[in-house]
């Protein structure tokens, strides 16, 4: 089973849910943890993994041999991302716009383009608390997060229950993390912002045919519109965590909730059981 923890709105508690679920579930069955928030991964701050492997994720950038180039303009015309411009005696490549698709090389009649690897980020993998842990890190200044998420997901092991900590939002990185999940567990807070972004996240998960369930975090801080929405949409609310300064403090210093307050383990086991019941 692949459980993706997502949210729409950032800072609702995805990592808290993912980490506590992973630690609790690991006592019962083989699991693995993939932190798919490659822009701002945080799970390692709580799980303190030992990394054994480091892998670069690259895209291929065109490099033009000006000696061979006839400046015909075919490459720039073929590029759907405006990543190339052909001047009278020079070809400009804009690395930040290039998707590394290779179409420019395919269309070049003079065979003047070769491709060189450009690092987008890295994958680090190892183990934490006895289970496999991996995360991706987008290099600072790079825009394309999805190739790193796709590479990270190549490490999925069908023998293990996978917990995927997804990035916030609803765009490409979220889609890459949610694709092919058995369930999207959407973490929200009971506020107008939380509700608005929950709707957006539900929209994405449904577009991808991934079943959804909700966790309400910081319950009590706002209003009850999230609960109404979930009832109306027939989305199960599988766990509510009350707003509690002590829980917020534990998070702030990198302490895992179930380590400090083991009574929460039963709640996370019940959460896992509900998800299994839903996807069975």
């Amino acid at each position: 089973m692949r459980i993706a923890i997502a949210s729409g709105k950032g800072g609702t508690g995805k990592t808290t849910i993912a980490v506590n679920l992973a630690i609790t579930l690991a006592e019962q069955e083989p699991i693995q943890f993939l932190d798919c928030d490659v822009e701002e991964p945080n799970a390692h701050l709580f799980l303190n993994p030992q990394f054994e492997d480091r892998q670069a994720v690259v895209k291929l950038l065109p490099e033009v041999d000006e000696g061979k180039c006839t400046h015909c303009g075919a490459c720039a015309e073929a590029c759907e991302f405006n990543a190339m411009a052909v001047l009278r005696d020079k070809v400009l490549v804009y690395p930040e716009l290039c998707h590394g698709c290779g179409r420019c090389r395919m269309v070049c009649p003079a065979n003047a383009i070769r491709e060189v690897p450009h690092e987008l980020g890295i994958i680090e993998s190892g183990s934490a608390r006895g289970f496999p842990f991996s995360h991706g890190l987008l290099n600072v200044g790079e825009a394309m997060a999805t190739p790193i998420i796709h590479t990270l997901k190549e490490g999925l092991d069908t023998e293990r229950t996978a917990i995927l900590d997804a990035p916030p939002g609803t765009g490409c990185p979220t889609i890459a993390a949610l694709a092919n999940a058995n369930i999207a567990l959407l973490v929200t807070e009971p506020t107008p912002f939380g509700l608005h972004d929950l709707r957006a996240a539900v929209g994405v998960a449904r577009a991808l045919d991934v079943p959804v369930a909700v966790v309400i975090n910081r319950d009590g801080i706002g209003d009850d519109q999230v609960t109404h929405y979930c009832h109306k949409e027939n989305i199960p609310i599988m766990l509510s965590i009350p707003f509690d300064r002590q829980i917020a403090f534990l998070y702030s210093e990198g302490t895992v909730l179930v380590d400090a307050q083991p009574e929460w383990k039963d709640k996370f086991l019940a959460l896992a059981a509900q998800m299994k019941g839903m996807t069975a």
Partner: protein
């Protein structure tokens, strides 16, 4: 006109709450919500849409199965694993690059432009607003962000506005980079948690990469004084001016539920702190 962009790295630190406060306190401004994945600023503004449209931001490769000769060239050339071994194109994996179109000997594939988002301009209780939202399951948030910025620039031009306030998205990738291009000042909003500090380092890296002057605000500063101090030390080392801290205050959420900013609530400690932060920023850049 000067533009101020709110970023945070980590989500949920209070970018939109602070942007909303600045919207109340700034005269003569236009607002832009560039968090097109999860736009929230309008929830504080009671906007009335003036103009709106569909944004077509991406191509999708579409195959004519009758014309397909099943040679497999599309599957071979696609670097995004979007063409399956049975030559079906996955719309979520397709980047719209057209490599398959070039490779197909039977002219069976063409690129079709897709509706990926909706943009709007609005009048609001706090001034003109430009924003957008991605359609469910659509991508290209970076290009949509650039489109919103263009609409906001048009609004600013029309209004001869002195300020443009831009609410950004979490993370450090495509939408953040698109929102940061050409802005005058970035306000980074963090919180005193290990995650907040970790993510601040990365987003500051992006802001420095583009050489944009930045200022720091620590929200919920009293949650963990030790980490708050660590953030202060880090900011000093990096030469990142700290505009101040905002105490945890339930009135921020109360105000949000009512569609307002904390600076509009009587006796809100967070509102008072936000006013001080605003004054300090204005002193520094105006």
């Amino acid at each position: 006109m000067k533009s101020i962009l709110f970023l945070s790295g980590k989500g949920g630190t209070g970018k939109t709450s602070l942007a909303g406060a600045f919207a109340v306190l700034t005269n003569d401004k236009v607002l832009a919500d560039c968090d097109v994945d999860a736009a929230n600023l309008h929830l504080l503004l009671a906007p009335r849409v003036v103009n709106e449209g569909v944004y077509q931001g991406a191509n999708l490769a579409v195959k004519d199965d009758d014309a397909c000769v099943r040679c497999g060239r599309c599957h071979e050339v696609c670097r995004f694993h979007a063409v399956s071994s049975s030559y079906e194109i996955d719309p979520y994996l397709c980047e719209g690059c057209g490599a398959c179109v070039t490779a197909c000997p039977a002219d069976a594939i063409k690129l079709v432009i897709q509706d990926t988002g909706r943009w709007f301009t609005a009048e609001s209780r706090l001034g003109p607003l430009a924003g957008a939202e991605l359609l469910p399951g659509e991508e290209t948030s970076g290009k949509l962000v650039a489109h919103v910025k263009q609409k906001a620039a048009e609004l600013s031009e029309a209004a001869k506005a002195e300020w443009l306030l831009i609410d950004g998205s979490p993370g450090i990738g495509c939408p953040v980079i698109a929102s940061a291009s050409g802005v005058d000042v970035v306000v980074l909003v963090t919180e005193p948690t290990l995650s907040g500090l970790h993510d601040l380092r990365r987003v500051l890296g992006v802001v420095n990469h583009f050489s944009i002057p930045a200022f720091l605000v620590t929200n919920k500063e009293d949650l963990n004084p030790a980490v708050a101090k660590e953030i202060g030390t880090y900011a000093e080392e990096e030469g990142l001016p700290l505009l101040g801290g905002i105490p945890y205050d339930p009135k921020v959420t109360k105000a949000m539920v009512a569609g307002r900013s904390a600076v509009e609530e009587d006796g809100s400690p967070a509102g008072v702190a936000m006013r001080e932060i605003f004054a300090r920023l204005m002193e520094a850049i105006a």
